[in-house]
């Protein structure tokens, strides 16, 4: 009789977290993600299919029922579903021209929260993250240290950092160091 082999899925960096004095870092559980490209004419149909209005103003996001759409470019969005809903299936029925690519496993998300969150991310991100310049709900593809990230401000003292899976160790370690600096 053949031996039974079982594989266990262990998401990158899963379970890593850090609590510094006023910053907390946590690797978020896996989520469904798509990279969505569409011309202006398809935005309405896609919004209806996804159940949330795709933001058309630069650097803004929209959230509805566990789904978040982040504006990345004039015809590009990152759509997240934290409840595991099938985003690709939702887009499949749309006849308007668009491209939806599943990238759920490409990204790892890190939550940075606490009064020192802004200082922590600013250690490697050149953007102005002051609340007046980067308000709650603002999002951007930008730089963290040596890598590219997608940054979303989920609260006044809370950020979601999305990075590529292969860079997640670097991103977490970078933020971990920065969090300790922010605490001191």
């Amino acid at each position: 009789m053949a031996n039974q082999v079982t594989a266990t899925r262990r998401p990158a960096q899963s379970g890593r977290d850090t609590s510094a004095r006023n910053v907390k870092l946590a690797v978020l559980p896996p989520a469904e993600r798509i990279s969505l490209r569409a011309p202006a004419g398809a935005v309405e149909a896609l919004s209806r299919a996804l159940g949330l209005a795709l933001p058309v103003r630069p650097c803004t996001s929209a959230t509805a029922e566990g789904r978040t759409a982040l504006w990345l470019g004039p015809d590009e969005w990152l759509v997240l579903d934290e409840k595991g809903g099938d985003l690709l299936a939702a887009c499949a029925g749309v006849e308007a021209l668009h491209s939806a690519v599943g990238i759920s496993h490409r990204n790892v998300a890190i939550a940075v929260t606490g009064p020192g969150a802004e200082t922590t991310i600013s250690a490697g991100c050149p953007r102005d993250l002051a609340l007046e310049a980067f308000s709650v709900g603002a999002c951007a593809r930008t730089v963290l240290g040596k890598i590219e990230i997608v940054l979303l401000r989920t609260g006044e003292e809370a950020f979601r950092v999305e990075c590529w899976r292969s860079f997640s160790d670097y991103a977490f370690t970078f933020l971990d160091d920065a969090a300790r600096d922010a605490a001191s």
Binding site: P58, C59, G73, P74, P126, R127, A140, R141, T142, V143
Partner: protein
């Protein structure tokens, strides 16, 4: 750090997010077969490299990903203005353009 205005993001953003992409308004001939070697060489290799005002393509590579055009002073490294790709070369420049 320089702040560059991305015409698509409509914000002044740090230069780390951008990458230069060469001279702007270099037009490819619609009929390459009929073009002389000299003209083709000029199109492919010869660039102005001026001292002063230069029209360049830039890409917001670590941001919205879009190409756009910028007017920069090569002496002071000051960005005079930026405008979307495909738009006409501006006829007049703002402020201290000389």
């Amino acid at each position: 750090m320089l702040l560059i205005r991305c015409p698509y993001c409509e914000q002044d953003l740090p230069e780390l997010e951008f990458r230069n992409a060469g001279e702007a308004h270099v037009v490819r001939s619609g009929n390459l077969v009929a073009e002389s070697d000299e003209d083709f060489e000029r199109f492919l290799f010869i660039r102005e490299n001026p001292k002063g005002i230069i029209y360049e393509r830039w890409r917001h590579i670590h941001g919205c990903g879009r190409f756009f055009n910028a007017v920069r002073n090569t002496v002071s490294d000051k960005f005079l203005m930026t405008y979307k790709a495909g738009e006409k070369k501006p006829e007049s420049l703002p402020g201290d353009a000389k």
